[in-house]
Amino acid sequence: MNSSVIVFPGSNCDRDIAVALEKLQFKNRMVWHKDSDLPKSDLIVIPGGFSYGDYLRSGAIAAKSNIINEVIKAANHGCLILGVCNGFQILIETGLLKGALLRNKNLKFLSKDVFVKVVKNDNKFCKKYKSGQIIKLNIAHNEGNYFINSENLKKLEDKNLIAFKYCNQKGEINEGSNPNGSLNNIAGIFNENKNILGMMPHPERMVDKTISSEDGINLFSSLLG
């Protein structure tokens, strides 16, 4: 599997993603945002961080960068795209994923471990998890409060495009287990073809038992086929 990690000025999770991918024997390349050629990739990852200092809106400037045109083209040809945290915000700003990510409800930058539920495993990103599995991942964001209008929310639900929901240790999805005010506890979503996944929690921070846990590793190993 060939993967590319897109690097923007202000990206700060790019190397963590690369470590996770290389651990699973992906042939990974780092791609600078000014490049206009994308190496042939089965998977493109847009990492977390603060691209362009979060100027204007988180992800808004990165969404207009050179390389993003290539990412959009690849996405439309079915290439797998994963956006984590700021990467999710960028995918939202490109329009590849629907909705918006607003300031956290409590106005605080959140950096902590949370529980999320894998909604279904019938997709390329989650197939090594069980449907309904509860995993612990880390979040670190200021704008993770997912919003979408009710008509499109219904589409997400009906077409089974919600990938992860925030929950508590018992798997209960409610206001108490919602860290940032996201609509329906949404932590990650797919596009209609399910080749694009955007998520606020960081799976790449949970790929090594010595440092944290291995709850995130199945997301990457699922992609190996």
Binding site: A60, K64, A100, N145
Partner: protein, 67 residues
């Protein structure tokens, strides 16, 4: 639309005794100079800028005023 920053500012102003304050929302403001003599064309250009980048139409709307 939930505007948590606006809500906090509103609450503080009300605590400060601004009793007639009904609702407050926070937004953004850009000053834009355009190299264009035709006013309509200039306005259309700014509209395009708002739609393509400056505003996120899912959560924001915009208004263009001549200064």
């Amino acid at each position: 639309m939930l505007d948590p920053q606006g809500k906090v500012i509103q609450q503080i102003l009300q605590n400060m005794g601004m009793n007639t304050l009904k609702e407050l929302r926070q937004g953004k403001y850009f000053e834009i100079e355009i190299n264009e003599k035709d006013e309509n064309k200039a306005k259309n250009k700014v509209d395009e800028m708002c739609k393509k980048l400056l505003a996120n139409l899912i959560i924001e709307d915009f208004k263009v005023n001549k200064l």
